[in-house]
């Protein structure tokens, strides 16, 4: 009997490698962030979104979707949160943010930069999370009582992440121009 070894060749395209590299950076940031003790469940900086914002600005919405969703799945596996409530909150937040980003990315770039994208996506994120929490985890309007707190976190971290993404983009532009 002759054994024929069948070799499946997967040649990653340049885009695949880019997505993988960016997703890896985002996953590392999420895992690092999970080690920071947080005063309130649900309020976190979301530093991985800096990567999403940079990818969105440089490579477009489709790649940002890949990076963001890969990050949600892989990070939840690494943190042992896969299919736990936290995973669904994070997935809902990511999906809502991506939908909002699909719209905001079309805003005139002269006027609206990564900071706008970041803050608006952060609001979409908390909106979706509160909706999931209200419908599923805490069937009581009490969750909305925390809205001002989450909204403040969205503004602060949205601004910080947006500025970080804008700074990175400026830096990358300098490097590429040289």
């Amino acid at each position: 009997m002759i054994m024929t070894r069948s070799v499946i060749e997967l040649t990653p395209t340049a885009e695949d490698s880019r997505v993988a590299r960016h997703a890896a950076a985002a996953i590392a940031l999420t895992v690092a962030e999970a080690m920071i003790p947080l005063p309130l469940p649900g309020v976190k900086p979301g530093m991985a979104n800096i990567v999403t914002l940079v990818v969105l600005a440089r490579w477009g919405w489709r790649e940002a979707v890949w990076v963001s969703l890969l990050r949600v799945f892989a990070a939840s596996l690494l943190l042992g949160q896969f299919l736990a409530p936290g995973f669904f909150l994070s997935l809902a937040g990511a999906c809502a943010s991506l939908l909002v980003l699909a719209v905001t990315v079309r805003l005139p770039r002269r006027w609206f930069g990564p900071v706008s994208h970041s803050i608006l996506a952060a609001f979409a994120h908390i909106g979706a999370q509160l909706a999931v929490a209200r419908l599923w985890l805490v069937p009581h309007d009490g969750v909305f009582y925390l809205f001002p707190l989450f909204a403040s976190a969205a503004v602060v971290f949205g601004l910080v992440n947006g500025v970080a993404a804008a700074a990175l983009l400026a830096e990358l532009k300098n490097v590429n121009d040289k």
Binding site: R109, G142, P148, A151, A166, A167
Partner: protein
């Protein structure tokens, strides 16, 4: 590395608008939710405090008055008069009270309800 980058230079004109909008929403939401949310219900009968209960769990309260029993229903964050022996039923038709300072008065039976909360700083009889 070029010199210290001023972070404000990274914001485009519209970004400031979005930032202001976000901050405005925070303040507005905080004002609406945190000053208006009631924390307890005060029931008065014949002008005196009959009972004061927290609004964090459901319960029913029967308050005796000169005409009979006024039945009050309490749910998390709200309260209403379910039944009252008064002729015009104003306090029953008023429905749920949800804001701090909101009042329902069943005058014939001399029973009144008032929601109180941290931001109980306006006179609800005025609205």
């Amino acid at each position: 590395m070029h010199g210290a980058l001023d972070w404000r230079a990274l914001l485009r004109p519209g970004d400031w608008g979005v930032l202001a909008l976000g901050l405005g929403l925070c303040v507005y939401a905080g004002f609406c939710l945190w000053t208006g949310a009631p924390s307890s219900l005060i029931v008065r009968a014949r002008g005196e405090v009959f009972i004061e209960v927290d609004l964090n769990q459901s319960r029913r309260i029967e308050v005796p008055g000169p005409l009979g029993l006024t039945l009050i229903q309490v749910e998390p964050g709200r309260a209403r008069v379910v039944a009252d022996p008064g002729p015009r039923q104003y306090c029953v038709r008023q429905g749920w009270l949800t804001h701090a300072g909101a009042v329902a008065i069943c005058a014939p039976n001399e029973v009144s309800l008032m929601l109180s909360g941290r931001g109980n700083d306006y006179d609800s009889l005025g609205y």
